[in-house]
């Protein structure tokens, strides 16, 4: 009985040991719950990866755009803004603990970058898939 209590206490205290990891997960988890409530079904790394690498043709400029245009093929590497060349921190939480931490930031960039890349806002399903993929990196 004593041992069981200690284990429970240990699990309860776990968030204090490595808060960023836990919060990052919390932010994405919260968003996934939200997306599910909007009608999305199951999110998979594979679907997210496919979307991340998918090529879209911009109607106005006829240029090919994809997530990797700025974020590169390797999410653990820093990216580069397509237009200004400014450095973009790696998206993979495994190398950039600040990534996927704040709901506000995730929303801002998903909205702005889906519009630039696909030409429209992403669906709840697409957002959930791509976040699941990014989180796995």
């Amino acid at each position: 009985m004593q041992k069981k209590h200690l284990v429970i206490a240990g699990i309860a205290l776990l968030p204090l040991v490595n808060p960023p990891l836990v919060y990052a997960t919390t932010a994405v988890e919260q968003l996934l719950v939200e997306y599910r409530s909007q009608g999305a079904t199951e999110f998979t790394v594979e679907a997210g990866k496919e979307l991340f690498f998918k090529e879209f043709v911009d109607a106005k400029s006829t240029q090919v755009r994809q997530c990797t245009t700025c974020h590169t093929d390797d999410l653990r590497q820093p990216g580069k803004h397509a237009k200004t060349g400014k450095r973009i921190d790696p998206l993979a939480p495994s190398v950039n603990p600040k990534s996927l931490m704040e709901i506000k930031n995730i929303n801002k960039w998903l909205k702005r970058n889906c519009e630039w890349t696909i030409g429209r806002e992403c669906t709840a399903q697409e957002k959930g898939d791509v976040l699941t993929f990014m989180q796995s990196q």
Partner: protein, 377 residues
């Protein structure tokens, strides 16, 4: 001691120029050359400014030396009137030409001309630095427009100086040929050869040594910042005023590019940029209205019209009122300042784009764009 030349007439070696006069001459000539080479390029403004101070200091020294110096350096022995100058010049091509052990009347006039004009150039340079760049001893006293006027005076007098130097050098060559004496060598060694015995001037070496030490110490003091500079902490010879900043501006703009200070575009440009945020260079920023309001207030309060820096003032002044450029690179001032750069610069791996000001301008994030705050790659 008389020696003999090939005609076996006696020749006496006489020291005409003391050491301080000679070193002054060559230091001044070097300063003029360095000033000429360092002008017109913002990267070398600190060199130009130092050389200007050196030039000014040398002129002041020469004015003092013209009063307390040795015989041929003294102004009272160089005070030839217009009549004496005329007589010297009209007899120069003839056999009746007059020879002077020290400066001839034409040389003397050149000296007074160069000293007087030099003072105007030095003072107008300091006033330009104070007005246009708000740097140096008179920073904060004159405005940009006054600085621009001083700059014009500085440029015109510098051109006149070049013409005067050309006349001076031609005169030295002509007189050397006609009088059969090497005047350039005399200014190096101080010695001229005379058919009659003449009294040599004192060398005054200690004064020359003090002059040289002061010059070296001044240069060391002025450029000491370069000794402690590292690639991460470059030395900035000129640090501009601290411009107001805004946290939201910094955060939102810096997401995708350098947070260009609002003083780099006029109000009308910022109005247009913030009103078209859904099409911000092909991106929909999607910023909340209250964020746009905060950004707008900051931009309009700190726009180019407020002219806190030379760059801001120049951008505002040169952008036609009918135009509202959305890019700083579209302003005439930006284009004028960058027109001489080769295309390769923009393709450099660390520059990447014309939008990347801080690739070369160390103080781009602060928005001051001081001269000399530039990387040379």
């Amino acid at each position: 001691m008389p020696s003999s030349n090939h005609l076996s007439a006696p020749v006496y070696r006489v020291r005409v120029w003391d050491l301080p006069t000679r070193w002054f001459h060559w230091l001044l000539a070097s300063a003029v050359l360095a000033a000429w080479l360092s002008q017109g390029d913002s990267r070398y403004v600190d060199i130009h400014v130092f050389v200007g101070y050196l030039f000014f200091g040398l002129l002041v020294f020469r004015l003092v030396w013209g009063i307390v110096g040795t015989q041929h350096a003294c102004f009272r022995n160089l005070a030839f009137g217009g009549h004496a100058l005329w007589r010297y010049l009209i007899t120069l091509p003839t056999k009746q030409r007059q020879h002077f052990l020290g400066h001839n009347p034409a040389g003397s006039w050149a000296i007074f001309g160069i000293l007087g004009l030099g003072l105007v150039i030095a003072v107008s340079g300091i006033l330009t630095l104070g007005g246009e760049n708000q740097q140096g001893p008179v920073a904060g006293i004159f405005n940009f427009a006054q600085g621009e006027t001083f700059h014009l005076v500085h440029k015109v007098t510098a051109w006149i100086m070049l013409a005067l130097i050309a006349v001076h050098i031609s005169g030295v060559i002509i007189a050397s040929v006609l009088h059969r004496e090497n005047l350039i060598r005399a200014m190096v060694t101080g010695v001229k050869q005379c058919p009659t015995e003449q009294i040599s001037v004192a060398s005054q070496a200690p004064v020359a040594l003090v002059l040289l030490v002061v010059v070296i110490i001044s240069a060391g003091g002025y450029f000491r910042g370069y000794l402690t500079a590292t690639p991460d902490q470059p030395y900035l010879p000129f640090v501009g005023t601290t411009l107001p900043s805004n946290a939201l501006w910094q955060e939102e703009c810096d997401d995708c590019h350098l947070a260009y200070h609002p003083s780099l575009l006029p109000k009308r440009s910022w109005e247009k940029l913030l009103a078209t945020q859904q099409e911000h260079f092909e991106e929909n920023l999607g910023l909340a209205p209250e964020m746009i309001a905060t950004l707008r207030t900051f931009a309009l309060n700190q726009s180019a019209e407020t002219a806190p820096t030379k760059t801001a003032w120049k951008i505002y002044r040169t952008t036609p009122a009918s135009e509202s450029p959305l890019r700083i690179t579209e302003t005439p001032y930006w284009q004028q300042r960058h027109q001489r750069l080769p295309e390769e610069v923009w393709k450099h791996s660390e520059v990447k784009s014309k939008a990347n000001c801080d690739a070369c301008h160390f103080d781009a994030p602060q928005g001051t764009f001081e001269a000399s705050a530039m990387m040379v790659k």
